[in-house]
């Protein structure tokens, strides 16, 4: 089947979606991705898939620009939809699960559609049990049994998505990704600098990786001269991760990319980062999470205590201990997918579609309840 997957969230979400795409591809399907123009740099990185670009940035600019004819965004979107509908997909799967993607699904043509779907402002989603699970259990106020990838696989009825394997590299650099998309999720630069020096003291080659546009601010932090700080694009980051011994990172897109590079991962899940939801989808990956009642907090709200006290609960010594364990491969806990179990729970009882407006209601409730959006935003 020729399948179009709507992956219209952030880069980190795309890397998580890649697990599902691999599974579909392994089953003989031709997988196409629809991504935003802001994520266009991913096309060169993932050459196994066909990509289609939704011009969100361009449309957004046209819609507010004084220099644009008011009909231009209509024309651009109309032409884009016509082109997409000529591609004759057998199935479209909505892996984004928000209002925008549900409406977009409604305007794209395919004999089969899976996931949130709205037509003329009305929810016409076929609420299969897995999708209902995703919808009902995956809000910010819930702690689901399944991870995001497992829940999405369940919702799309993609069977047996397994955590990625890892390589045991005895050589290569230890890579640190020190920034995240949100200050709440970011361990202090001071802690990272101390950790890097300690690792260098133990003879490790340490590379701090950051986006090229963040290089100046990250590199000016006062790093030990033994530490390399590099601003890398996705291709170079991938090459570095492939030969790395290990990655230590917050909940970032680089962490999710490292999983695909089969690099061992140690995640520091602070603030709103929820390891149960978007932890590294890799066997024997480790995450450190602060033991404090407010963790994980909501994405879109400020730190309740204002001082990000959960950051101090992850100490440098704790990270070093986990690092040593990972290097010795002495980690006992393995990541076990629980899709089968929950599927069994979910499929009990009759499956009725929710009442006509429930999708709308849920969306509204979610927004009102905690200001969070549908999909994960690592």
């Amino acid at each position: 089947m020729k399948i179009l997957a709507l992956s219209l969230l952030r880069v980190g979400d795309f890397f998580q979606h890649l697990h599902l795409a691999k599974q579909l591809r392994g089953s003989g399907h031709e997988v196409h991705f629809l991504i935003h123009d802001e994520c266009q740099s991913l096309v060169k990185l993932c050459t196994d898939y066909e990509f289609h670009i939704f011009p969100r940035k361009k449309l957004g600019r046209q819609l507010v620009s004084r220099h644009t004819h008011p009909l231009m965004p209509f024309h651009l979107l109309d032409e884009w939809l016509k082109k997409m509908n000529q591609l004759e997909f057998d199935e479209i799967q909505n892996w984004t699960h928000d209002r925008f993607s549900a409406k977009l699904m409604g305007m794209l043509s395919a004999p089969s559609k899976r996931g949130a779907l709205m037509v003329q402002g009305k929810d016409v989603t076929c609420w299969r049990p897995g999708l209902r699970y995703l919808d009902e259990h995956w809000g910010a106020s819930h702690t689901p049994t399944l991870s995001y990838i497992e829940a999405l696989a369940l919702a799309m009825e993609i069977p047996a998505v397994s955590p990625a394997p890892f390589r045991l590299n005895s050589t290569g650099p230890v890579v640190l990704q020190v920034t995240t998309s949100d200050v709440k999720k970011t361990w202090s630069l001071r802690s990272w600098i101390q950790l890097a020096s300690l690792l260098a003291d133990q003879g490790e080659e340490v590379v701090v990786v950051t986006a090229p546009e963040e290089l100046i601010s990250v590199s000016s932090g006062g790093w030990d001269s033994r530490i390399q700080v590099r601003g890398l694009d996705w291709i170079k980051t991938w090459d570095l991760l492939k030969r790395a011994k290990l990655l230590i990172s917050g909940d970032t897109s680089v962490l999710h990319l490292a999983v695909h590079a089969e690099t061992r991962v140690l995640g520091l899940y602070l603030g709103s980062a929820n390891a149960k939801k978007t932890g590294p989808f890799q066997y024997k990956a480790r995450t450190l999470t602060p033991q404090i009642e407010c963790h994980p907090c909501y994405h879109r709200s400020d730190c309740r205590s204002q001082d990000h006290r959960c950051h101090d609960l992850i100490t440098i010594q704790m990270v070093m201990d986990e690092f040593k364990l990972l290097l010795k491969c002495e980690v006992n806990s393995s990541y076990e997918t629980q899709v089968g179990l929950v599927l069994a729970e979910q499929v009990q009882g009759p499956h009725q579609n929710p009442s006509s407006n429930i999708f709308e209601n849920i969306i509204e409730n979610r927004f009102n309840e905690n200001g969070d959006s549908y999909g994960p935003r690592p």
Binding site: L63, H67, H69, P70, L71, H75, F100
Partner: protein, 195 residues
């Protein structure tokens, strides 16, 4: 009528309309480069539209900054002789399309394929009106253009925009379009883009 002269350095060409300069007298190239630099972010459009011709220094600067983009320049054709247009086209003719407009009727057939940039120093009052029309601020022209694009429901609703309100996405969004029309669905989706 527009005429060409040399600037204070005695080398660079400047344009004047009825004695009023249409670009900097001292350093028109520098002024043009400064203007073109403002549009660096428009690299990803296949084409750009400029209103105002002057001595065409700004077009040369824009063409240098956007070598892969097609540029159309709209100007009042009544103000420029054929000979003068030939002179100004020289060196940029492969990238810049000259669109002399005789009256506003010509503009309803104009195809808006890119952002519309105003080069104000070169514009007469007539050309400022052309800019307004090209930017979709004239209801009659907008209606014709909507019809041309097949947006019939939108075309018939455009008359509902109250006088004095700019025609932009916000005002179009407030129109009562038929819910099943393609335009209504496009508005719905575009609303999510700017949400």
């Amino acid at each position: 009528m527009v005429q060409l002269k040399t600037s204070q350095d005695g080398i660079t060409v400047i344009a004047e309309r009825d004695g009023a300069p249409l670009c900097s007298l001292r350093d028109p190239r520098k002024e043009a480069v400064g203007w073109a630099t403002r549009w660096m972010e428009l690299q990803d459009y296949p084409s750009l539209v400029v209103v105002g011709l002057g001595a065409a220094h700004h077009l040369q600067a824009l063409a240098e900054q956007h070598p892969d983009q097609r540029i159309s320049v709209v100007f009042d054709g009544n103000d420029y002789s054929e000979t003068l247009i030939q002179v100004l086209r020289s060196g940029i003719e492969s990238q810049v399309q000259f669109v002399p407009v005789q009256n506003t009727l010509d503009l309803s057939q104009f195809s808006f394929s890119g952002p519309i940039l105003l080069y104000r120093p070169a514009c007469s009052g007539v050309e400022l009106e052309y800019f307004r029309i090209i930017c979709g601020q004239d209801p009659q022209t907008l209606k014709v253009q909507a019809e041309k694009l097949g947006f019939h429901s939108l075309a018939s609703s455009l008359a509902q925009v109250p006088p004095g309100v700019a025609y932009n996405f916000a005002s179009i969004k407030n129109l009562s379009l038929a819910p099943e029309s393609r335009e209504a669905q496009l508005v719905d989706l575009l609303s999510e883009v700017v949400r």
